[in-house]
């Protein structure tokens, strides 16, 4: 539609037109500040906002941080990236970094290393975790590991010792007998149903010397593994050792809906950096141990995962300033005190030294757990292929439930997992 202004008739409406035009172009003006987008809860946001204020004060660079929940974060980031309006700094996950890097949605940072980014002494495995195709795309904000949360008060109530890092899958059955005969708190079970927790399957496979995915993004386990996995959990379920499928299905993602917060189980798979968050939701005292071993003395299932990265937007006009912010975020002592171990264990030794004395009891537990994994620790797995998220959401979670509700046999689920995953991998 062509509109020529200047005609007398149009003067009437010109103010409306101007308003509409202004509304249309206004976002273009809001670009000067360094935009930071991250996922997390209020606690993380408070800490992050405080640190970005500190950075603004010391550097004079204006910051515009914004946060969302995990599930809202990825649609927003993808939409903004598609619209050519990506933030300057984005929080990145191990699962998505390859996808974003290979599409140039985030920028390589190698040119800033040694300059704006000082990474001497940075934990080598955490540095490696941020690389894609040999180039550095993400700065790890902390290391964490999978971990099992332990409700120690519940174990005291039942009258048995809480498990330690030495515990095995067989122990679940034994502890369950004690729990079921004690029948505390309206039938609390010893363990939640971990059969559709992807990290738990991954950990179990790694203890068998396998992986979820090969470095070139193919499936790295077979039907026999998958069938054995579902059979293992089916036995626990039939024996009443773990929570019922119906209870487990109440877990829809948010921490508040999980089995340990609902008081339905005393053990639950989680991550080391989440102990602090869970403790605020549970009255009982929580502790943290590794995932169960497949047999006594077998380790190597765990790894120090970069809990999350900061990356620089591929289209950012302020990459240098963004790199300076990243450096401030990981190394400034005052910033370190504010951030604590909320995003995992800091990767610079100097930062760790500053943080360690300031931590509360739960923070200490997290720090010590990740530092002392011992023989549980194995090598860093290759980054998962882009469709790993889909395999998790539409196969691993659903199939576990189907076995749980008796809609599929463990054998059927095992076969479906492998064939379905291969199908999804071949499509992408």
């Amino acid at each position: 539609m062509t509109i020529r202004l200047g005609r007398r008739q149009f003067l009437l409406g010109s103010s409306a037109l101007a308003a509409a035009a202004a509304a249309g172009i206004s976002p273009a003006f809001a670009q000067s500040a360094l935009r930071l987008l991250f996922w997390g809860g209020q606690d993380r946001a408070d800490r992050t906002y405080a640190v970005s204020d500190m950075f603004s004060e010391s550097s004079g660079v204006e910051m515009a941080p914004e946060f969302l929940s995990w599930s809202d974060y990825w649609p927003k980031l993808a939409t903004q990236t598609a619209g050519g309006n990506a933030p300057d700094i984005v929080q990145m996950d191990y699962r998505y970094i390859v996808e974003y890097a290979t599409r140039n949605a985030i920028a390589p940072l190698d040119e800033f290393v040694g300059g704006a980014l000082k990474l001497d002494n940075f934990d080598p495995d955490q540095l490696e975790g941020g690389k894609v195709g040999g180039e550095l795309y993400g700065i790890s904000l902390g290391a964490n590991s999978v971990a099992t949360l332990v409700n120690t008060d519940a174990f005291a109530e039942v009258g048995i010792d809480a498990p330690t890092n030495a515990w095995t899958y067989d122990d679940i059955m034994e502890m369950a007998e004690a729990f079921n005969s004690a029948n505390i708190r309206g039938g609390m079970k010893v363990m939640s149903d971990g059969s559709y927790t992807e990290p738990m399957l991954h950990n179990w496979l790694r203890q068998r010397g396998k992986e979820l995915y090969t470095p070139d993004g193919q499936l790295a386990f077979d039907e026999d593994d998958a069938i054995e996995w579902y059979t293992l959990w089916a036995k626990l379920r039939e024996a009443g050792a773990i929570v019922s499928a119906e209870d487990q299905a109440l877990d829809s993602g948010p921490l508040e809906t999980t089995m340990i917060v609902l008081g339905k189980s005393a053990l639950m798979p989680s991550n080391s950096n989440q102990l602090v968050a869970y403790q605020t939701l549970v009255q009982d005292d929580l502790n943290m141990i590794g995932y169960p071993r497949i047999a006594e003395g077998v380790g190597g299932g765990h790894y120090r995962k970069p809990s999350m990265f900061f990356s620089v937007g591929g289209s950012s006009a302020n990459k240098e300033a963004a790199a300076e912010f990243l450096n401030f975020f990981i190394s400034d002592p005052e910033a370190a005190k504010v951030l604590g171990v909320e995003r995992g264990i800091p990767c610079l030794p100097s930062t760790r030294e500053v943080v360690a004395p300031t931590l509360d009891e739960k923070g200490q537990i997290a720090l010590n757990f990740v530092a002392n994994l011992g023989d549980l620790l194995g090598a860093l797995p290759p980054p998962p292929p882009p469709s790993a998220g889909e395999i998790d959401a539409s196969l691993i979670r659903t199939l576990g439930q189907e076995v749980g509700f008796g809609a599929k046999s463990p054998e059927q689920a095992g076969r479906d997992l492998v064939s379905g995953a291969k199908d999804i991998l071949s499509r992408s």
Binding site: L250, S252, A393, T398
Partner: protein
């Protein structure tokens, strides 16, 4: 407005050869101010509705993934949907089940309440407002969360059942019942069809009922022979609106299942699957194709309703 203007323009052409310039000047003088005042709506309509629709139609023939530029893949998305995507059929089945049960039940309930309220009780405006309230709250996040609490294992429903000695399941997380909790939630939002039914009932002349009762017709007979036939235009209207709403239903399933459609995909509404494909797995092209299939489906349903309406909808003419 546009119809009048175009007819005037035609007249101008018939009058004789008109130069481009004078057509323009006529446009400026006569039509332009009208369009100017329409401009806010036009900008919204073309910028926010037509533009995205055309784009999404184009994208439905591509492999657009939000991050890289789209490549043309022809009808691949549609072919895959119909031949090689079990989740498409799962979600279609869930949505169909929801539509087929929630719409008639909701309409019956709304009509029943409207009939009760139409008996000239005191404080009608108050009751009307109270019953309408759920419709205002219905699609909200807060209600979906409340629903989770009511229908969970130790929720309100099971506490009431426990009083009569029944141990209820966890309705919300049991694949046999989870969809029904969403249907109940939908029925609970009967307010807006109820208001429309109430208005419809008020339109029926009371002398018809008087005549019928003089002839000895029972209440039931009066309902079947007078109320229902005269109410059919309203029933028709409500049915179409509610069917479209049911097809589009998204928020409750999204909140209650945490966006997963679980347990075992039993609440995987079509719209939820579409959302997962678009924003979970970044298959915007495929999701666009899903959206167009949904539009076509809703269009078909509506067209079918209109075609059959002449056999059962009675307009008082």
């Amino acid at each position: 407005m546009s119809v009048q203007h175009s007819s005037r323009a035609t007249t101008t052409v018939v009058d004789g050869p008109v130069s481009r310039g004078s057509l323009w000047s006529r446009f400026w003088q006569n039509d332009a101010p009208g369009y100017l005042f329409l401009l806010p709506w036009l900008i919204g309509f073309f910028g926010l509705t037509v533009g995205p629709m055309v784009t999404s139609f184009y994208l439905s023939f591509t492999d657009f993934d939000l991050l890289t530029s789209p490549d043309w893949v022809g009808t691949d998305n549609y072919v895959r949907m119909l031949t090689n995507d079990p989740k498409f059929w799962t979600s279609m089945r869930v949505t169909m089940f929801f539509v087929v049960f929630s719409v008639p039940l909701k309409l019956c309930f709304a009509l029943a309440v409207a009939m009760l309220l139409n008996r000239g009780i005191r404080g009608l405006p108050l009751y009307r407002a109270l019953f309408y309230l759920p419709s205002l709250l219905g699609a909200s996040v807060a209600i979906a969360i409340l629903w989770r609490q009511i229908f969970s294992g130790d929720g309100l429903v099971n506490q009431v059942l426990a009083l009569v000695g029944i141990q209820g399941p966890s309705w919300i997380s049991n694949p046999n019942y989870s969809l029904w909790t969403l249907i109940v939630l939908s029925i609970w939002q009967f307010g807006s069809p109820m208001i429309i039914f109430l208005a419809g009932l008020r339109q029926i002349p009371s002398d018809m009922y008087e005549a019928a009762s003089l002839d000895g017709a029972s209440k039931w007979r009066q309902f079947v022979k007078i109320t229902l036939p005269l109410l059919t235009p309203v029933v028709f209207f409500n049915a179409i609106i509610q069917t479209i709403e049911a097809f589009k239903s998204f928020t409750p399933a999204f909140i209650i299942s945490g966006g997963t459609g679980n347990p075992i995909n039993s609440t995987l509404f079509y719209t939820l699957y579409l959302y997962q494909e678009a924003f979970g797995f970044f298959r915007m092209g495929y999701a666009s194709a899903l959206a167009w299939v949904l539009l076509a489906l809703v269009g078909l349903f509506t067209a079918f309703s209109f075609l059959t309406s002449k056999y059962w909808v009675h307009y008082d003419e």
